[in-house]
Symmetry: C2
Subunit: 200 residues, 2 copies
């Protein structure tokens, strides 16, 4: 199982964003949608062994964690607007959640009121955690286990406090080389590096 | 110089597509926009040494070739809708072009009435041509020159006739491994493989 965990610190947590203006009304919801597309789509198929969790932390109801699961996802297209329309629907369903309650919105899409910190604590018990960071160890020199979760920040990055939690959870700091990539591109590259290893 | 050449066989060649429906009204214009975003954006910057040519071949005025040049591009954002709005503007400016005429639309964006075949013939004189194809030689075993252009098909692929031209132009058939990727993801990966080599 491959998982990606994106912290979207400004992304709206109500369905009241405008599909015609994802960057501004959605708090960079365009970036969130591109990350989902990067995590799950390959040519003519979805990655059935992959999930992406996006933790939305913008106003008015943070946090909301939405998971898109390639195993069961249906009827979603890889364009930003289509993915955003599914996020909108999930946020509508998830308006009145209680803490840590999770509900299924449609095949392969669930929403929970769960914080980034709770999510990565949970994941650390069952998976290898990798924190993508320009100063980490080169991904090409890393031993990667079969169950792996990659943690990514958005354009704002991840606070020092959360970084300390990530360290305590023994996540490995891993770099993709000398360039710094958009989160969505980093996901494509992480998927590619894993494909390269596991299809040998 | 790095260049990408995308053949978008169904993408509209008039500005009359709907920004609210890029996949269908635009003839998979969403895919075109994602490819442009993949080619040119890195974190907090554009790739100044990179261009992407998209050859639109859908109705009603094919062909139209639009180039986005990272060196001089300004005021464009990496989300699909914003890139699509610039394509729309370019198509408006380029309605009455004569064959092989090219005009500048805004900083870093030009449009020409030029066919895919003419474009790759031109490029073959000045650059190493790489045709991304699942059956090609592994990119990790390839010698890549400094001036390189990658040729990609869209979701429809490239016809046998054009493949023969690509062969005659001595383009190298190169693969990214065993998975088959979306064109936009293939561009991210090609950029990454080049970054890895050239930043050592």
């Amino acid at each position: 199982m491959r998982e990606f965990i994106l912290r979207a610190s400004k992304a709206l947590t109500s369905p009241d964003f405008n599909l015609n203006d994802l960057p501004s009304s959605g708090g960079r919801m365009d970036l969130v949608c591109r990350c989902i597309s990067s995590a799950l789509w390959v040519s003519n198929d979805l990655r059935r062994d992959t999930k992406i969790f996006v933790v939305l932390e913008g106003p008015p109801n943070p946090p909301r964690t939405i998971v898109f699961d390639g195993f069961s996802l249906k009827g979603v297209n890889p364009d930003e607007r289509n993915i955003a329309s599914h996020i909108k629907k999930a946020l509508k369903f998830g308006l009145n959640l209680e803490l840590n309650q999770e509900i299924e919105v449609s095949p392969g899409i669930k929403i929970a009121k769960k914080s980034f910190e709770s999510l990565i604590k949970e994941k650390s018990k069952e998976m290898q955690l990798i924190y993508l960071h320009p100063e980490g160890k080169d991904i090409r020199e890393l031993e990667i286990r079969e169950n792996v979760a990659f943690i990514l920040g958005d354009h704002i990055g991840i606070s020092r406090k959360t970084e300390r939690l990530i360290e305590r959870l023994k996540a490995e700091k891993v770099s993709l080389g000398k360039k710094i990539y958009l989160a969505s591109h980093a996901i494509v590259i992480a998927n590619y590096e894993l494909d390269r290893r596991w299809s040998k």
